[in-house]
Symmetry: C2
Subunit: 159 residues, 2 copies
């Protein structure tokens, strides 16, 4: 039981608060690392991450997969293109669209970030047994389904 009686609430035990605080602490730390070591923001990193998995997707696809909104993708992509990490190839069939991809430099950054990102994740998970890590995974998935049932936040079926 997280709370005592029916009508008491201790902020420290309140799930939305705990999630917010933990997520902020983690985000802050990892953002500092990305910034310091690679000079990219979390949003830029998310875009590199999905482009690393799937070359040639559109900005709208990126937004869907990173759960960023369109303006955020537009801005982060623009600066990645400026820095020569991402390429944009406009679609000849539908000229509203364009395919995004990693440049050679972008692929290099991607390859360099991955192990650091995984290492940080491992640092967090090191506190947990493999069974606990698996349990956490499952718990977060179930919570996400409740918090955002319409949107199916992750564990996307095959694309």
């Amino acid at each position: 039981m997280n709370h005592d009686a029916g009508d008491k609430l201790r902020l420290d035990n309140f799930l939305p608060y705990r999630l917010s605080v933990l997520s902020n602490a983690v985000s802050r730390k990892i953002a500092d690392m990305y910034e310091r070591e690679f000079d990219i923001s979390i949003w830029q990193w998310r875009i590199l991450a999905v482009l690393g998995e799937s070359e040639g997707i559109t900005s709208t696809e990126v937004a869907a997969r990173t759960l960023m909104d369109k303006p955020a993708v537009s801005r982060a992509t623009a600066s990645l293109i400026d820095r020569g990490l991402v390429t944009r190839t406009s679609d000849t069939a539908d000229r509203r669209k364009s395919a995004l991809g990693l440049s050679t430099a972008g692929r290099e950054v991607y390859n360099a970030v991955i192990p650091r990102a995984l290492a940080y994740e491992q640092e967090l998970l090191a506190a947990l047994s493999p069974e606990d890590a698996e349990a956490l995974h499952s718990l977060l998935t179930r919570l996400a389904q409740i918090a955002s049932p319409e949107r199916d936040l992750w564990d996307r079926r095959e694309d």
Copy 2:
């Protein structure tokens, strides 16, 4: 195992990403509820929550307990005082400090918000067995200790 090989990373399975997405979804939903039903922000709510538990604490204490920074507390408190939900009594011994507390109206809002907040938390936890909820609690605590060891985010010892 969350990831496949040593050097692959699927954003959907990446813990910092998952925490961020889940926390944002939860925060968004609960912020909408606070706003719609009580016309308060999450930060105002946090302040009411700690003042409801401990009357007469200072702004610095509030900041420590809500993990908000001082300017955020200052601003949110100012608007709560404007609305007559919070009282400020300046300390006669040390005139830099002042004691914050809930006004009668503030206590009423506090009493009204509590059950709604708990109901939303229950909505989330309803997906989980009591053992799972307990496990989640423990997992989040352990992660917080890793993510922010210096700061001891919650489960504060007795005050």
